[in-house]
Each structure stands twice: as C-alpha cells, then as structure tokens.
Amino acid sequence: MTAHQTIEAQQETLSGAEIVVRALLDQGVDTLFGYPGGAVLPIYDALFQEPKLKHVLVRHEQGATHAAEGYARSTGKPGVVLVTSGPGATNAVTGIVDALMDSIPMVVITGQVATHLIGTDAFQECDTIGITRPCTKHNYLVKDVADLPRIIHEAFHIATSGRPGPVVIDIPKDVQFAKGAYQGPTEVKHAHNYSPRTKGDPARIAEAAALLASARRPILYTGGGVINAGPRASELLRELAELTGAPVTSTLMGLGAFPASDSKWLGMVGMHGSFEANNAMHDCDVMIAVGSRFDDRVTGRLDAFAPTSRKVHIDIDASSIGKNVRADIGIVGDAGSVLEDLIAVWKQRNLATDKAAMAEWWRQIEEWRARDCFRYRQDGEFIKPQYAIERLYELTKDREVYVTTEVGQHQMWAAQFFHFQKPNRWMTSGGLGTMGYGLPAAVGVQIAHPDALVVDIAGDASVQMTMQEMSTAVQYGLPIKIFILNNEWMGMVRQWQQLLHGERYSHSYSASLPDFVKMAEAFGCVGIRAERADELDAKILEMINSDKPVIFDCRVTKEENCFPMIPSGKAHNEMIMAEEARDLGTIIDDAGKRLV
C-alpha cells in the first residue's frame, strides 16, 4: 500500500454506527450481548450488515451485562454490551457495578437521545453518564463523531489494562448517523495520561522475598487478581507455593488459581471459608497477599486480623494497598509480573524457608484440617444441599466444566464443595453479591465455550431474578444447566434471621414458588426434579447428558445452615462449627449484629 493509499484508507468516511462496528472488529470482538431500542437503532442497523459480529439478544439488559461478565471471566477477553438509552442503560447498571466490584473487563455501549435533545427530558432520556460515573472505571459521552474511533479504542484499553473494569460509552443517536473518518487502534492518539504500572518495584520484591524466606508460618492469600493476570500467573503461583512450601488460601473470587487437589491448598478463606484456612491466616507470621483486597468478608474483625503477621500486599491497584489493612511491604504491579520477579529473586539468591519450622507449621495445619470443618451427614431420604453439590462435583469433575452461581447459601456451598483445578472456571458475584448473576453469566460462558458443560449452581430465590434469560439460552441453543438448590427460602437471609434475629423470619420465605419443571417446559428446555437422595445421581446424569438447557429443581432440606462461619465482629480463630451453632445468638453481641 502506498503512502497515498494509506491516507485514503484512514480518511474513509463511515457513519458513527459503522465506526462502532468497525472498531469492535478491530478490537477483536466476536460477540456482543445486547437489546435494541430507539436510540441505538443505527448501530443495530450496522450490525445487521456485519456477519462477523455475533449479537446475543438477551431478555433484559441486566442479563446482557452479566452474560458479558461470564464471557469475560471465562475467556480473559473483555465482555461487550450494547443497549439503548434510558431504561436500557439503567437496567444495565447492576451488571456494570458488579463488573466494577469484581474487576471484570467490560465495554458497555449505550444509545443516547440526539445531542440537541439532551437535557430536555426527551423520551427515553436519562443522564447515563451521570448515573454510571461512580459505577465505571471510566465513561464517555461522545458529542462529536470525530472523537468516536479514539474513544472506543481508548475504552477497550482502559477496560482491559491495569485493574480491569467496566467502561461505558454513551453515543447520541445523531452521532451514530453522522459521517466521520475511521481510525484503527494504532492510529488514534489517546487523550488520557492513563498508563497503569504493571511491573513491581524490584527493591520491594527483594524485600518481600527475604521476608518470606524468614517466615516460620507463611501463607499465600490470593484473590481474583491472580486470575485476571492470566493463566501464567496461576502457574507462577503454583511454582511459588512449591518453592516455599507455603500453604495457599484464596478469596471467593480467586478460586481455581491454585489447584484444589494440591496438598498445599487450604480451601477458601473468610466468613464461610475453611477452619484450616482461617486459622492459618490468623496464626501466620508472614502473609503474602496476591491480587486480593482484604474485603470485610475475608478479614472479619480487623483489629484481630492476623495479629502476629507481617504482610506483603501485591496489587495492581495502588488504592487497594493499605485501604483496610496496613501492608508492611506494598507492591504495586500485575500479579503475574510480580510473582515472576519474586520467584526469580528467590532462585537467584537460593532462598529457602526453614525446614523444621515449616514441618511444625504443617503439623499444626493438618491438626486444623483434621477437624473436617465441612462435615455434614447425609442421612435419610431428603437431600442435603452439601450432598447435592458434592454429587454434582463428583459426576462432572472429569469434564470441561464451568460453574457460575447466584448469591447466598448455595454460593457458599458451591465454593466449599465444588473444587477447581484451573482458573477461569468459576464465575460468581463476589463484591456486589448480585442475586440473579449466575443464569445470564452461564449464557455468556456457554457462548464462549460451546462444547463445555456450564452449570449455574442456583438458589430458588436468586434464580427468579433473571429467569427470563432461559429464553435467550433456548434461542441460541445454549445447553446451560441451572441446578437449583431449592429449599423454598432465601436461605442466607433465613440463616441470619435464625441466628441473629431471634428466628423471626421476616419476608424470607419463597411463597408461591413456580413449578420449575413446568417452567422449564414452558421455556422449551428440559425440567428435572430430584427429591430423594437415592435418585440424585441418576437425575444429575440425565441433566449432564441432555444437549438442551436444563432447569434442575433439586429439592433439598429446608433448614440447613452454611457452616463453619466467622460470626460478625469475630476473629478468624473464633470460627464456629455446625455443631456449635445453636449458641450463636449468645456468641454474637449487639455490636456484631449491626455489621452486615
């Protein structure tokens, strides 16, 4: 191509809508999740003429955002959403905040009323930029088609780099029609000074390595940041654990970064984490936090959190370091890059942990592990929820399986009883705790992995929040499996009311539940119900072997509680086990009850 032709190509004139489609293709986008409406019709028109972009029509814009999250979380690529102005944008807000809290790369394109109508309370107008400003990593209102290529490419850069997050691009309808020149990702000049630091400070990494080598009771406390850093970071985490012999725990978001089958794996940390993980966190002398942010569900009582430890905090987001818990050594950087450098220092200096001290530490950990904190008894014909997940795990573990969840007891049981060997296999709403996340997220995962087994472990209350997306699954032939632990309650709400509110079950009973099997049939999917423990395996196999979307109504015992548990306002070494639960009302005092 001659220089002259290049200039001509650059100056090719397209409509704003065509620029959007072209820019998405240049960003490597293959799928977007969306819902059309008046203010976004020009972009839909451009999509109609572009077969390379697959559009998944959801039934509610919240579903589009969660599906995009599922797609992003299971592939490492950004999720892309296209919705209209006004209600389209406001419906998308929950998923946008969800992505912000859980650091999911996402680009949301919203239609807007024409620029001359902005501010007139026009039909389906809302202040999308104002509403989403605190809900996004960054957002844009495009007032001039000349800015559009730059803004789209910049949005993808911002969404996917540093600490990933959602970016909203609000495009007025007249800008979608206006003609402008297209520029590719490498041709645009970014307007912002944004360049997140990915490489950690070598001096601090060396200091961290020395601290880790001096540890007698170390622990690696990892989070979603390891998964966001890509598969290589998970491999490096394994290597670091191998080199140091240190035990590994993780947040809810970090499950899968370290293989659950490894003997150094302690299980999840936090409120419903394992007894061994929480006690090891409490008693450790050196804590290496990698891509985890000391969330209140992890730390419990802050002034009693890991009181004898020195802490290294590795995070891509400088504002996460020292926010809730003081770090002795804070390292700003990408989890993968910092782990790589840390391992290099470890090897280069021939560092090692003290063998005798580590043996003693592991003896103590095994003692905690021997408590078998997730123990339960499946007796009688009724299905215990824990048993249901254990059987689901056993019957699916040898397949390519991806798990999403809703939010509540079933989510915690899934985290406790479903074990992951690889990253990107576990999609759950951690930060925002969005009931209704799992079903549309499963849609997004299945789109990205058509041949995999995708299971949404759900609750009867959560699943009703976004149930309409079953229709999406049917339309696109997505054989997602909605595995509902049906106890007829908002289980976690009921559990808290039982334990903390004098068994006053205020509005937490799921009255008038639909018949999920008939509902499945109405949607055109397969409905399966299991009511007895002895039929569970066969029914689960029937679900797995179906090539259609399935709603599985797994009737479980109604009043099972999720244990062990760190009661509100208590320390990690004050976990209560299932058998101690009866006294919980006296264990948690008034101040503890005020906490969420």
């Binding site: 104002g130 400003r133 605190p134 009582r301 002034d303 818990v325 906490l595």
Partner: protein, 182 residues
C-alpha cells in the same frame, strides 16, 4: 466472651490517629464531567471537602488544575491520594501540605459595615493585612485580601466586631516554590 466491642471495617483500625488538613493539587484532563468525577469520589467514600478550586490552566493541553483541601487520618489521606491517582482523568496529584516547597494562598472579599471609630479601625487593620479597598460607601468597605487561609481567618475574626457583613473566599490555591512544575 469478652466485653470488648468488636471492631469492623466500619471502625477503621486507625481511627484513634489524629486527623489533619491536607491540600492536594490535582492536574486533570479538562473534559466534561471531570469535576463531578472528582467530587463524586469524595462523596461516595465519605471524605470531607474543606475547600475546592478549579479552573482550566492550560487550554492547549486541555488541563485544569484542582486544588482540594480535605481532612483525615494519615490512612484516610493516603487513600484519598491513591484514589485521586487512580482516576483515568488525572494527570498528576501533589500533596501540597507535605511538600516543604508547597505554597498555599487564598483570596477573600470581605464586606464590613460601620461608621465612626469602627470604620477607621477597619481601615487600619486592613492596612496591616495589606488588604485593598475595592469598594466603599459612606458606611461600608469591601476589602480584597490574599494570603494563607489562616491569615484570612484572622482577618475575618478581627473584622467581626467591626461590622463584618459578608465574606466570599476562593478556597485555597497552591503552587510549588522553585523551578519545578506539577
């Protein structure tokens, strides 16, 4: 069971540390909504804004300079600085208070009403503060005074018994001594 009140993330572990004032100079991209972004950050995270000034300072570079005075414990101030740095629209953040070369100035317009001895005294005090008279009537003055916020505070307090009617302040502006730029 102990009687100790449980602490939580809501009771910051460092809450017994003393609060102090801090001034940040923030260079931001001058684009629509950038002020809302910054103010929204403070509102959402419960940080105080004691004063805020903002104006475009470089038209060609599309940058505005925000000077924001806030208050908090050392931990909260560190969070504020990190959160300001994190905004995509931010170019630079400078902690003016902790910078030995940091200069802070504020301008105030002060209206004082009085006759006789009070009026003479007001004029005398304004002279000591090197304030300028920018408007006068037979029974009032409007003074323009600049200086560190504490100087403005003192000026206002001295004018109060002399017939202080109204005060308008710009909020703090800042710059660094020496040749370096933000």
């Amino acid at each position: 069971m102990t009687d100790v009140q449980p602490a939580s993330v809501y009771d910051l572990a460092h809450e017994d540390e003393p609060e102090s004032l801090a001034t940040y100079a923030v260079l931001v991209d001058n684009e629509p909504g950038v002020l809302h972004r910054l103010v929204g950050l403070f509102a959402a995270r419960g940080y105080n804004i004691e004063s805020l000034t903002v104006a475009e300072t470089d038209r060609r570079a599309h940058t505005s300079r925000v000077t924001i005075v806030t208050r908090g414990t050392p931990q909260v101030l560190a969070q504020i600085e990190a959160q300001l740095q994190k905004m995509v629209s931010t170019r630079h953040v400078q902690d003016v208070t902790r910078d030995p070369n940091g200069l802070e100035r504020e301008l105030a317009l002060v209206k004082v009403r009085g006759v006789g001895g009070d009026r003479v005294e007001a004029l005398r005090v304004s002279d000591i503060f090197r304030a300028r008279v920018i408007d006068t009537t037979a029974e009032s003055f409007v003074f323009e005074v600049t200086g560190a916020p504490s100087k403005i505070d003192s000026f206002v307090e001295l004018m109060r018994p002399l017939g202080l009617v109204e005060v308008s302040r710009t909020g703090v502006l800042s710059i660094q001594r020496g040749v370096e730029a933000l």
